[in-house]
């Protein structure tokens, strides 16, 4: 559906995107995720036609659109602030693109009302000024304005970033529902990993203009391809070589002790897993406990590593700081990355590195 091939974007001396290949499938909710300044918005704006790439091609539905202006690409866009025209009513905002295309008055009105109905805007709201609408309603107007022209792709540039937490959650769902209802291919930009994981079919994680990993939310969470992705997504503890060596000794696993090793906070536990399985217990000392209501966060020091973990506040017993305890870990949950390249170690690499140990 959308292909970005060897895209290169620079602003003066600054190389925002050195080389980018992306492929978005039809009907997919595709997210560009990364910290600010990583080039994700630049990639989206290149796709929208607001930035002319220095090299490479943009293809939409098999057609090269690299040199086409924004409005000829059949892409609709919802801006970070929705960019609703403050001097126009809701109806006029939605009808703007139709009137620019010189659609007949009656046709425009029918199309505007039709799309408004589908995004659940009432006739009464259509007559209002955009400033009179709530954040959620404004978002629906912005989506309706983009969709009324029947674009092939919908681009969303951090549309939830300026809202408060509660509204953000609510609108996230609304946006996802609208997308599923229209079935339109959507490219979404965000720096919020939670949003990306909850909404996307697939996610591309950006870092310094480069895509580190493309995959389903579960893939990038459980099998982060690089050290950057592992650190950016989710919360993990850094393990010491000593700790990894103890895990190897207790379980017979062959983890590398020279690689950078991480453990997700929810994967460690203070109770022996019910099924037993491959988990091994290592002695440690509770350093601190922070109460969060739903759960408590613990820091347990074991073999030089500060293991962070979550304990559900379900009324069970809880060790206090200063007490000795046991941390249970499954060796296959430990994420390992090459200490220089940052690439994830495969089974094979681990053994190679393990063999190479003195």
């Amino acid at each position: 559906m959308i292909r970005l091939d060897s895209i290169k974007v620079s602003f003066g001396d600054f190389n925002a995107i050195p080389h980018l290949d992306l492929h978005v499938r039809p009907g997919e909710f595709f997210t560009l995720l990364g910290p600010s300044g990583c080039g994700k918005t630049t990639a989206l704006r290149t796709l929208a036609g607001f930035i002319q790439p220095a090299g490479g091609t943009v293809t939409v539905d098999g057609k090269d659109v690299t040199r086409l202006p924004s409005d000829k690409r059949q892409v609709g866009m919802v801006f970070q602030n929705y960019a609703l025209f403050p001097s126009m009513s809701v109806w006029e905002n939605i009808a703007f693109g139709l009137r620019v295309r010189k659609e007949k008055g009656a046709d425009s009105d029918r199309m505007v009302r039709d799309i408004a109905h589908r995004v659940e805007l009432s006739d009464e709201q259509l007559a209002k000024n955009v400033a009179e609408l709530s954040g959620g309603q404004q978002q629906r107007v912005a989506v309706a304005r983009a969709l009324v022209l029947r674009p092939k792709i919908l681009l969303l540039d951090e549309p939830l970033s300026n809202l408060d937490a509660k509204l953000r959650h609510q609108l996230r769902q609304q946006l996802k529902d609208l997308q599923s209802e229209f079935g339109i291919t959507t490219v979404y930009v965000t720096h919020d990993q939670d949003e990306a994981l909850a909404m996307s079919d697939r996610v591309a994680v950006f870092n310094k203009g480069v895509v580190e990993q493309v995959g389903t939310p579960q893939e990038i969470y459980d099998h982060a391809a690089t050290e950057f992705v592992c650190n950016f997504i989710g919360d993990s503890s850094t393990l010491t070589p000593e700790f990894v060596a103890q895990v190897n000794a207790a379980s017979g696993a062959q983890l590398s002790t020279r690689a950078s090793s991480y453990l997700r906070v929810e994967k460690a536990s203070l109770d022996a897993p019910a099924g037993g399985g491959t988990a091994v217990g290592l002695p440690g000392k509770v350093l601190s406990r922070t109460y969060h209501g739903l759960h408590s966060r613990y820091v347990v020091r074991s073999h030089g590593a500060d293991i962070r973990l979550l304990v559900r506040e379900d009324g069970g017993a809880h060790p206090e700081p200063g007490t000795e305890t046991t941390v249970y870990v499954r060796p296959d949950h430990i994420l390992q990355y090459h200490s220089e390249t940052g690439a994830a170690l495969q089974e094979q690499d681990r053994q190679d590195q393990a063999v190479a140990l003195p």
Partner: protein
Amino acid sequence: MSGTPVRAMVRSPFVLVVGVILTWFIAAFLVWPNINVLIATFFPDGSFSGRAAEKLFSSQRAMKALGNSFLLAVALSITVNAVGIFIVLVTYYFRIRGSRILFLGYATTFIYGGIVLAAGYKFIYGDKGIVTSLLLQVFPSMDPAWFSGFFAVLVVMTFATTTNHMLFVANALKGVDYQTIEAAKNLGASTWTILRRIVLPMLKPTLFAVTILSFLTGLGALSAPQVLGGREFQTITPMILTFTNSPTSRDLAALLAVILGLATMVMLAVMSRLEKGGTYFSVSKVSSELQKQDITNPVANVAVHAVAYLLFAVYTLPVVLIVLYSFADGAAIQTGQLSPGSLTLDNYVRVLTQPAGLRPFVVSVVYSALAAVIAVGGLLFVARLLQKYRNWVASVFEYLLHIPWILPSALLALGLIISYDHPNPLVGGAVLTGTTVILLIAFVTVKIPFTLRMLKASFASVNSSLEEAAAIMGAKTLYVFRRILLPLVLPAAAAITALNFNSLLDDYDTAIFLAHPLVQPLGLVIKANTDGAEGTEGVANTFVYTVLLMVITGVTMYLVYGRSGRRRNRKRLPAVPPSGSIDATDVPPAAGSTASGADSRVPAAPVR
């Protein structure tokens, strides 16, 4: 801190002292003079009389002047918008080659305006002007007085008052969220459609405001019609001046001033009404910065460039010629022919060393400095109290202090003249008319609204926790004011003083009514020189004055505004909040820093 009860307010001795002085000042110089004008108009002998109105309707000259003023006001509203919107768009909206240079040209009206600008145009395009002399040599049959009457007044005032557009419309344009423009592009709109349907509608409230200001400027015009209007084009304010000078027709002057004042108030009311009706603030919380737009049509692009540079020439030619001819000798000024040999420093030496040349300059500097310091010094306390206490008493004071903003300066001046031409108990039984004090009072009065607003804004920008922290440690009101607040607002106060000083330096509108005959400020001398009284030497002197004024104004503006941009990263209060932010924090947009009646606008006084 809001909604302090009045009773709690008067318990503080500090408030009481300031309150008493303020009440006296407002009663004596803001309220009583204007009531007196009404009395002089309608109750000349203690009982109601319509004689002034009868006299007015039977005076063909006065009726013509009334008509002319409204004609000028309407015409000016159109021409200033046409030119103003165009120059703002080419400097800030469209990608035009050399737009920075264009900006410098269009911004020349920031450093010279009022009588100086009118005089400058006359010396260049007037019947004995430099350009006219040159043109006459090429076209001997042309009319030497080609640049006079309605046409000349309209042209000069149009190019003098685009300052408002450069300030406020430009500011509003910068506030347009660029994402809306991108959204419109994405929806297929052309450059022209975006400008017409998205950008201009968002500027509408500001455009309304500057239109009304232009209208009022045209209505109250004084120096431009006087200098360039000639016999056939006179307007209300010059007429008021003429009638004021003869005691038998003072009632007529008063009536004209009342009409002018009423028209001004109606227009300002319309303006604030319109503002309440529709503000198109961007609904977004974070907006992206405007980027310049290409004009895609090559023909349109060339045309816009051509017009932009033509206007640039119109704006800069007077400045360049004035600077050039300020070094020229009398012969060169008379014939317009300039040779490198005739350029000397003689004019500057004469103005700066001979008492006759230097005197008006010194008079103006002393008056302006005194008035600026008094206004800021006095209002420091008032602004602080008005910002701190919010109740009906404070609101009443605040409204009263804005009287000079809603009334034309001619009306205020006339009020002062007729109120204090006999011993008056309000000022301890003294006679003020004809003394040097009355002009100082008027200067201070005229500067009150602007000073008050700016000071209030800078007090408001001080973090209130500082004050609370000092109070919790036991500091008393005056101590907090002296040690905590004053140091923080002092840079702003200094900047406001400088701006006030600037705008009073070339004042004409107030001085012409009130100045002592022997202590004449610069504006009056420049005006006298345009009548040819002092010959070529007078013209040369005026050029020198103009250059000096431009240098002083330019330097002040640079100190106040120019450096704040570079200091942005340092943790210091900006000297004066940029006009946009005052609008946002202080009062409804545009009215905040634009509302005017007198020349109290920031920073240059337009031709009136």
